[in-house]
Symmetry: C2
Subunit: 336 residues, 2 copies
């Protein structure tokens, strides 16, 4: 009696997932009467598998000792996945939002073979959401991706479960913590370049920050919410995108004089898929500062419901993956 | 194949529930393959029952035409409930937080007879949460109360479902929209008395606003969260309560100078049950303005997750009740 997991990608997030599963061993056994076991893992150059289950602490020690999670060389992730038996693929390999990268191949392989998938990999989702959902449905398995939008902020499960009785008219959100940090520091009077530099020094922005500040990352999340919450079959090219690079100190100061702040907002509705800087009244749920993510879900009966949380981080993202794993266990509690 | 509902109390919220059930007829049938039917309803002086189901629009027309929902006189709610057959009691009769009022008797009767209960009635929950939960458990039924805390804001279901894999360390929240409106207007420079008067004129505060401004209402919600999320067996008397009546314009202005605002916060943790005014940094998720409610759930893996929504209102509260009804249908989908 177990749910057998393979982790594809053993970087920061993959390691966090191994740790989170170990930390929640007892809770899982108590709630579902069975274990969640890691039976396999691979990174860019190595792989490991045991049908008896692997000790998460051994995987973490392997990685920190040798830089490799496994003792076998990895030739091809798909070939590895198709050579082993498991129930759920946790796909957290590096994102490629132009081609979908190897993550796209891993997810296709898993779903085609009747395995559930939990992923935070935005590339495959932003490029091929419709195809992958249909593949999951055709094979009678679940694909879940809570952590791909907003990190620890449970926006997708909120819409699916708690707001199940609502018609959702639109979602507006701050979906990129790097941009929000930069804009928050501009509220404090810093010019854009200096705020960006500070974000880089603190590790919130990459050396090449263009995907964040040009709105590309936010647009990927817009695509994921449009597909998953609204059932709009769209990809990255369908989103109107404006980033934050043209926002001046003067614009921020003028907004502040009128009790507004400027935030990079992703908007999703049946009429509009857009990423652009917007004026937000101070004290509004979308006026949060720092690296937080927040989303406002506009519903017909309940009115606007907002949710916020940390948009990134090792354990924050791992905890979103854990919540998806638990949801799969819950809906498959009578199987196996 | 139906879930048969009785509505106890047919005021603003009870009418909203009837309307919401009618609006979601198709969604419910599609999702669960059975109907949610209202088979009975009563208010302070009248009752109505039909095992065939009642048309919500007829109930609403009765009430608006005659001021009474039913055509039989009501002698005693409990006697009425014990004379009919149904699956779920929606208890939305007037709240009495000193004795629990007739709502407490209705809930006890329903649970003892193996009926599920959905309520937003804070009195019975704040006074007898432990007793009622044990009664539900002993009779194999559910008691749900999402709308009793934060109106449309789905804080309880968020903690139960989306945050199931988290250890929750504490919850801090703005749980009373009236106080938050008054404090927000004080941010704009109004003195307390004038802000209160405005809240009364706009219908946000009662003629006797003491339960709101003295923190009593917030304390009831602290009790409900403490019991339901933390499993702390407590009642109203266990909460340290300070209201907002002693907050001066000067205090608000001094806070603003330091980039803070003052908010009435309910705090729930295994160590502390408290209602008191606190300094909140502007831009923090707990710094919202107006009649919104917001709660920050502090978790071990995901960090802080905040959720906000409208704390009151006819359809907002009805929609929280609807979400509880759907949850009961979901977990009992194979029965009956």
């Amino acid at each position: 009696m177990s749910m057998d997991i393979v982790i594809a990608g053993f970087g920061t997030v993959g390691q966090g997932v191994a740790e989170a599963i170990a930390m929640r061993k007892d809770l899982i056994r108590e709630a579902f009467g069975k274990e969640a076991r890691i039976v396999g893992a691979f990174d860019s150059s190595s792989a490991i598998y045991s049908e008896e289950g692997l000790d998460p602490s051994v995987l973490l020690a392997n990685k920190s000792g040798t830089g490799r999670v496994g003792d076998e060389p990895l030739v091809d992730g798909v070939a590895f996945l198709e050579s082993i038996d498991y129930d759920v693929l946790v796909e957290v390999s590096p994102t490629n939002i132009e081609t979908g990268g190897s993550g796209l191949h891993h997810i296709r392989s898993a779903l085609s073979n009747g395995r559930h998938v939990v992923t935070v990999n935005k590339g495959p989702l932003a490029l091929a959401f419709g195809e992958l959902s249909r593949l999951a449905q055709a094979n009678g398995v679940e694909m879940r991706y809570e952590g791909s939008v907003g990190g620890a902020m449970p926006i997708i499960n909120l819409c699916r479960e708690s707001l199940m009785g609502q018609n959702i008219d639109s979602i507006m959100g701050i979906l990129n913590g790097t941009c929000n940090f930069i804009l928050s520091r501009m509220d404090d009077g810093l010019p854009f370049e200096q705020a960006l530099k500070e974000a880089q020094e603190l590790g919130y922005a990459e050396t090449d920050p263009s995907y964040d500040i040009n709105g590309v990352d936010t647009a990927c999340k817009v695509v994921i919410l449009a597909n998953s919450v609204f059932g709009i079959d769209c990809t990255y090219d369908d989103v109107d995108v404006t980033g934050i690079t043209a926002i001046t100190e003067e614009a921020v100061a003028m907004a502040a004089d009128q009790n507004y702040c400027i935030r990079l907002i992703g908007e999703i509705s049946p009429e509009r898929l857009e990423v652009s800087p917007r004026l937000i009244t101070r004290g509004h749920p979308l006026s949060v500062t720092g690296t937080l993510n927040v989303a406002q879900v506009n519903t017909d009966l309940a009115g606007p419901i907002s949710i916020s949380g940390r948009g990134a981080g090792r354990m924050e993202t791992a905890s979103a993956i854990l919540s998806d794993l638990l949801a799969i266990m819950r809906s498959n509690v009578n199987n196996k």
